[in-house]
Symmetry: C2
Subunit: 428 residues, 2 copies
């Protein structure tokens, strides 16, 4: 591991030292707009944001780092993502050095904006969005609701199940969640009605950003797959369960999901998460060996991530009474049955081309005792979730806010956060 993870690094942006989200060891990329300014590339550092393009304009970089910063200076990170790992790593190292320099020049200090004065924007113009289904405890829990005897379908442990999602309706954290209308058919009614969903849900997912693309017809070997991953965000795959139940056969979810998907604004790099790579969780007895195109020794040894994932709920009543949001779920990305490399290799294995700026959702990540959706928390809407203030929830009510958080921590390393992915439900 390189020096960018050194715990002793001190940053001259004072709030970064000991920051539980954005210490100097993190350095995630995003797009921000300073007050009155145009959107541009930035790096989160403590309570502040570093203007990446300013590093180029002020001749503070050279070589690969300079090229990377120039690519990250515009209104989307796509050109930067497309450059791949070598450039990203060079910029990370250079920024780590600049932000920890004992004597930072004034022209560098002037590139740091207080985050509270900035607007965070969509970091990437998304080409295609693919949603996987790799959270095994979610697949089991949801499967049990419908098929108690055979919760997992036969293909689940052979391939990373996925479907294409809607790119146009992905928004950055903070976008209100307008309760969608849709066709809903209850079992006791002969025909559907068109009305607002009564079973609005969240889904806790990890978002994965594609960097280096691939050509049509050319698969990606699993040993090379990690070089195509540019970073990670949190993703909330808002879902209308009643719309989904009626529409999804035989071709999968459509309007139940495409009214909004929310992502957290920062792209946390694979380099920042390097200390939190863990072996793929051991298969259980009877689980099949992945087919050779999905199997790589190094991926088995380091391909999973140890990342705590949390879901908080703030109801209107809680806010009115000055209460903090209540944590309703704690999970971890280690509960993904498939690694990101396996997802990516499978995606390209038939020849489908990937592009810089494509987004994957991991699928809902539940733990055995930490569910990533209300569908699971309320056992299909049959057992309301009991909140500490006496309120209960089967599904989301207008005014409810869902906040997703992620944090990696490990002894000897700085804690790495993702920021937040927020959304408040409003009437449709």
């Amino acid at each position: 591991m390189d020096t960018t993870h050194d715990l002793r690094l001190q940053c001259w942006v004072a709030s970064a030292n000991g920051h539980d989200q954005f210490p100097i060891q993190n350095l995630p990329f995003g797009i921000f707009a300073p007050e009155g300014g145009r959107p541009r590339g930035g790096i989160a550092i403590g309570d502040s944001i570093l203007d990446v393009g300013g590093l180029v304009a002020n001749e503070l970089l050279d070589g690969d780092a300079k090229a990377a910063a120039a690519a990250a200076a515009g209104e989307t990170l796509n050109p930067f993502l497309a450059l791949g790992g070598r450039y990203r790593r060079a910029l990370r190292r250079a920024v780590s050095e600049l932000l920890s320099a004992a004597a930072a020049p004034a022209r560098l200090r002037e590139l740091v904006h207080g985050a509270k004065d900035c607007t965070l924007c969509m970091p990437v113009e998304i080409g295609d969005y693919t949603d996987f289904y790799a959270g095994i405890h979610h697949a089991l829990a949801v499967g049990k609701l419908f098929r108690p005897d055979a919760p997992l379908l036969p293909n689940y442990k052979y391939l990373p199940v996925a479907y294409h999602g809607r790119a146009s309706s992905i928004r950055v954290s903070g976008m209100p969640v307008r309760r969608p209308h849709g066709q809903i058919k209850t079992p006791d009614s002969p025909a559907p009605v068109h009305e607002p969903t009564k079973r609005l849900d969240f889904e806790l997912e990890l978002g994965i950003w594609v960097g280096l693309g691939s050509d049509l017809g050319v698969p990606i070997a699993i040993a090379q797959a990690h070089e195509h991953v540019a970073g990670y965000s949190l993703l909330n795959d808002w879902s209308a369960r009643d719309i989904q139940a009626w529409e999804y056969q035989p071709l999968g979810p459509f309007l139940a999901k495409n009214f909004l998907t929310s992502i957290s604004p920062w792209v946390v790099t694979p380099e920042a998460l390097e200390p939190f790579q863990i072996p793929q969780p051991p298969r259980q007895a009877g689980d099949p060996q992945p087919l050779p195109y999905l199997w790589d020794e190094s991926d088995q040894a380091h391909g999973s991530l140890d990342l705590d994932l949390e879901v908080y709920l703030a109801t209107e009543t809680m806010r009115r009474n000055g209460m903090d949001p209540e944590r309703i779920s704690l999970s971890n990305s280690r509960h993904l049955y498939w690694t990101v490399a396996q997802m990516l290799t499978h995606h390209a294995s038939g020849g489908c081309n990937l592009r810089a700026g494509d987004l994957f959702g991991s699928g809902t990540i539940s733990a055995e005792d930490g569910y990533g959706s209300l569908l699971e928390l309320s056992k299909g809407g049959t057992e309301p979730l009991q909140l500490a203030n006496g309120e209960r929830r089967t599904f989301l009510l207008d005014g409810d806010e869902i906040i997703l958080k992620a944090r990696a921590h490990r002894a000897g390393f700085a804690s790495i956060g993702f920021g937040e992915c927020r959304g408040t439900v409003v009437a449709g």
Copy 2:
């Protein structure tokens, strides 16, 4: 109907007069590159292509038509599609007049390129691609293979079933179809293998281009839906049936479809197809009335299209022997259970935003006796299709070429064609 459909119009591009695809009454838009030149917007006219941007540069247009031509002059038609119907119609009228003028100036004549010297390019940068399932005879035929007693699922006649497809792998006519590898599990084997598909198929679909977009959270009333449609192309939704069978539960098709989708290069406008608008085919006894948000009198009266759709197959043997491709299917877009306005309105009904350049596939359009896929033609691979030269096909072999064609014809009106959507299978 305006004068652009007048049968008496004579065009000074001589090949246009009596042309069965691109007479002056058609005027479809596309992107072409003249030999050695950059890609640019063009209009097909007879055996030639008119350079749209050149009309602006040579001051041959004004007002809305000039603005429309300027928007269609670049490397994609997206800016032109985004302008909506008023500008498109103004440009159509102006070009119809210019091309039928008795004394066309030399600077106009110089803007016409021989199509055989030009390359046709992707006409649009596609945002999101959505594939519907609105061909009722296809849904019935495929449903019968799996569920003889209940071929249609209960939702089919209440909503236009659709799923999100892959935009990155859509290519213009002519792109070879590389036989994809994928996981395939036969009923008698305990586990899947990863190998080239043995059941490669085509699907005959109509492609629908979105023009005017919509905002997130804002539905589109069905009476306004037609204003969001910018035009039509042919679409071949190449499919690997064995990969599909193993992967598609529970979230729909993924790698079975995303290795390639082909489209024909010309965007045929709603104005060109106006004479071929027909009432929506009558519902059968027992069919439900569409819910109010999907019901519009005008759409019922004019919302379907009478458009002959053909599939031709050319095998390697046929080509070697100098034989013409054999027509293996004749269908018609009137066999869509849902109108394009119903598809579009349903898509936006939950709040999903549409963008200029989004593409819909109609779903496979089969007639009762003209099947739009080999899955149907060979009854699920059990009864090979017999070709005139003695060859037989269940699914596509390497070297097979599929050619989709579309043509509208009606007494008193010029015949309108779409050009072709071609693809030849090559080994994976």
